[in-house]
Symmetry: C2
């Protein structure tokens, strides 16, 4: 058992004698630090240093107060806080004692969780995790081989980013708006930006009010919000086959049944869709009518009308992904399905990721007001609102005309790049291979007419300094191995030609 000796005037180093600690400490009554806090600090010091250990009793408040020549309530207050901090404990009718305290986890210790996260995981979490670990529809260029030409990634060429213009806009809006722009934004998104987007959508024939628009963190969040609103477990979702690779795992996560509609040259096979619909009515149809990802196909006006009529009759909401709407640079414009949607059936979504830059994470949904309000409710409780700083800067960027300039520039550049790509395909591709001829966007779909194993293909591609995306990622069952996607989004004409030449060699060698 320990023994305490106290003085208020002198500091004497502590002595340990026959297992009994004689601890002495000084209180400085002239200090800025209040006396009760000095008491706390000393006792914590003794405990942290191991001078006092678990089980050691502390003197009664009355005794310590007398020894320190301070008010008893001062000591009482210090003890109360030490109890709160977990250093000491007091039981009625007994000594106040030093507690056995859980020690902080030492830095950089390897730990193992007691929770088995895999067992605890929801079906949603499990499905996405399973995919996450092995899902690479777009290959990144390996660090070791920087001269690899990447026709796999569908990101816009960063060399084309209007960085300085955007930076200028950020600076302008900081001056114009100041601190309010750093507050929470409104749930549906920055109102002037919604207005700007509604005006831009008019150029695509879409008549929509700012209140019918919800700003999202990119198109991916837009899709997720729509699924959260409309898809119950085991609901059927109709999608083009192939389709946007990142959509398939999300559908699996939501435990949707996937109705894959084969893509024909003109778009999804509407007769197939009609037949499938008779077996089971989908809760939603997802389509990319312009520069379809991955095939690059633009559907005709007639196809759009038929699809809209079909879905309208059966009350199937259409999610129209206009992710590259502004990238029409060849041939005549076909307007979005949303432009002829008299019945509020189409949920249209857009993004700035493929025509400006993806790092700002701004997309939007344009749909019937009631649908938008319900989607906004989900967004409000799941991430409150989208980054307002960037919304305001983007609005400025569009209003000042930088966005239009940027689009015109991209049109000039990609019209040439696509034409160059298509003529390089003519020149270099082996005879048995066929491909689509897109009117815009960045992707070309190549039918190899031979099944090709992904690993073997990737290995051969890396050996030849080129990468394209394996077709299987764009199909639900992953069994389609006779096609690949080429993306020209990151490359200039010279690189495209070399890449296609190399890829044709890969095909010839396989």
């Amino acid at each position: 058992m320990s023994f305490w000796s106290l003085t208020s005037s002198n500091f004497i180093p502590n002595l340990v004698k026959k297992g009994e600690a004689v601890i002495l400490f000084q209180i400085d009554k002239n200090s800025q630090v209040p006396v009760y806090r000095q008491i706390i600090q000393k006792i914590i010091h003794f405990i942290d240093e191991g001078i006092l250990i678990a089980g050691n009793p502390l003197p009664a408040t009355r005794i310590l107060a007398a020894k320190l020549e301070v008010n008893r309530s001062t000591v009482y207050r210090a003890y109360q806080e030490l109890i709160s901090l977990g250093y000491i404990e007091s039981e009625p009718g007994s000594y106040t004692r030093v507690r056995k305290r859980i020690q902080p986890v030492p830095l950089d210790t390897p730990r193992k969780s007691r929770i088995r996260w895999s067992q605890r995981s929801t079906d949603f979490g499990r499905a996405l995790y399973r995919t996450y670990e092995n899902f690479h529809p777009e290959y990144t260029t390996p660090e070791s081989s920087k001269d690899v030409i990447n026709l796999s990634q569908l990101d816009l060429d960063p060399r084309l980013f209007p960085v300085d213009d955007f930076r200028r806009c950020i600076n302008q809006v900081f001056s114009l708006h100041g601190s309010p722009m750093l507050q929470y934004g409104s749930y549906p998104g920055y109102a002037p930006l919604r207005k700007t987007i509604s005006l831009r959508l008019r150029m695509h024939g879409i008549s929509i009010a700012p209140d019918e628009i919800l700003i999202t963190s990119g198109a991916q969040q837009a899709i997720d919000l729509i699924l959260r609103l409309l898809i119950r477990k085991s609901d059927t979702v109709a999608v083009e086959m192939p389709t946007y690779a990142n959509f398939i795992p999300l559908l699996r996560g939501h435990q949707a049944e996937i109705m894959g509609i084969p893509m024909l040259e003109e778009g999804m096979d509407l007769e197939y869709f009609q037949r499938s619909m008779k077996k089971r009515l989908p809760a939603l149809l997802y389509t990319i009518p312009n520069f379809h990802n991955p095939t690059g196909i633009t559907t005709s006006q007639e196809h759009r009308e038929k699809l809209l009529t079909l879905c309208g009759i059966h009350g199937i909401p259409i999610v129209e992904d206009g992710f590259e709407e502004d990238m029409k640079y060849l041939g005549r414009v076909v307007l979005p399905i949303k432009s002829i949607d008299h019945n509020g059936v189409v949920i249209y979504l857009g993004t700035f990721s493929k025509v400006l830059f993806p790092g700002i994470r701004i997309g939007w949904i344009a749909a019937d007001m009631e649908c938008i309000r319900r989607l906004t409710a989900i967004k409000r409780f799941t991430d409150i609102s989208t980054n307002q700083v960037v919304q305001i800067a983007l609005d400025q960027f569009i209003r000042l005309g930088y966005y239009d300039l940027n689009i015109r520039r991209l049109h000039r550049i990609f019209r040439k790049r696509m034409q160059h790509a298509l003529s390089a395909m003519e020149t270099y591709m082996p005879a048995h291979v066929t491909w689509t001829k897109p009117l815009g966007g960045y992707t070309i779909w190549v039918h190899l007419h031979n099944s090709v194993d992904e690993n073997r293909l990737k290995q051969r591609m890396l050996a030849n300094g080129v990468l394209v995306s394996h077709g299987s990622y764009f199909f639900v069952n992953g069994r389609h191995r006779d096609a690949v996607r080429l993306s020209i989004s990151r490359l200039n004409e010279e690189e495209i030609e070399v890449g296609i030449k190399r890829f044709s060699k890969v095909l010839t060698d396989l």
Copy 2:
């Protein structure tokens, strides 16, 4: 039936004779516009103007080519594109005819959706929507009464935002990084920022590696991701009662059973929790140990240890919301539960919203690596990644020391403000009222010891020029009407005093 007359040299206005249209048009072979496109444009013009109507036949390609003195393939190409655009249709063995085309929706027409969104909505969507429309735990100041003192909102005072410093950092990182910063960020978040956060967490006694951190769009998304990973329908979630208002609707959305643990002066009632646990083991426990929202209570070390031990034994993950961790400005620091979590039980979350500004939407989750990887998988497929521009700027802001300067400044300011608020409470509050004495953060919880109707209270408050939050929003059943939350986050000392004085008048008058 219509009749076509064509010439390649002269333009003659169209004549309508006995229901038969005689349409004539000119092709300019010297024009920059290709001939096939001129044909398309003319025919579209005639259709859009109603000169040609649905059912009218077009001349055979052979005949039109002869009349225009152009190659037949040119006319064929034009017809093909007109078919794609939906203007004409052709059936085998019949005339090519003008199609009945769905007209674009006129601008600014009121529309009604054929889809009944309320019926189509998931339970998740329905629960959040129902709440969204009537959920205002924090009142905004009405436009009409700008002199209202708002003690309701828990946003940081925008007058204290370090706007210029942040803007400087954005400019610096634009110069340093250029266009790559505008690309997609990595799924778990910008690696240097995760490292910076891991170093900052060490100051709070938390030992965590950068790979054990996931950057999120604010704390709200962090919470939603955790629920998506761990909460199945009808799972029980234990929460302090009262708790963070925005968490309750989200739990309802996820269809969780809510186990409300009453808050005592020292934190949640652990004995009550232990008893409840015997009936049903929660899948998760959510706690705010520092400056609890709404009560302002900081739990003791001993309380934290007991809670951790309890949850550790039963394998209940603890979600520790450290949303104001850095706002400890009075009294001694009590370290987060995560600091003593030897068993990877605690999922810790933080945010910059309450100590810097919320408009950047940056929060994070720090937890066991496997948990983080599973959460990252969800984030990757639901919004890909968090805004990278802002992450890089924020990392610069912290590394250059602006963040620490900001925190120290906020401590000085809010130490005074909180002390001022507490002494104003002493001065003005009616005798029967009691309140908490927070050691940090922004909120004071006031027990009125009388049930007060929300509408009546709000009306009286607006009449007196003050707003506080009604207590019912922080409880699951909404029946607790004998408490209110005061937030001092947006106000200076003078405003706080006037606000409290006014509020005491409201209470006296009720």
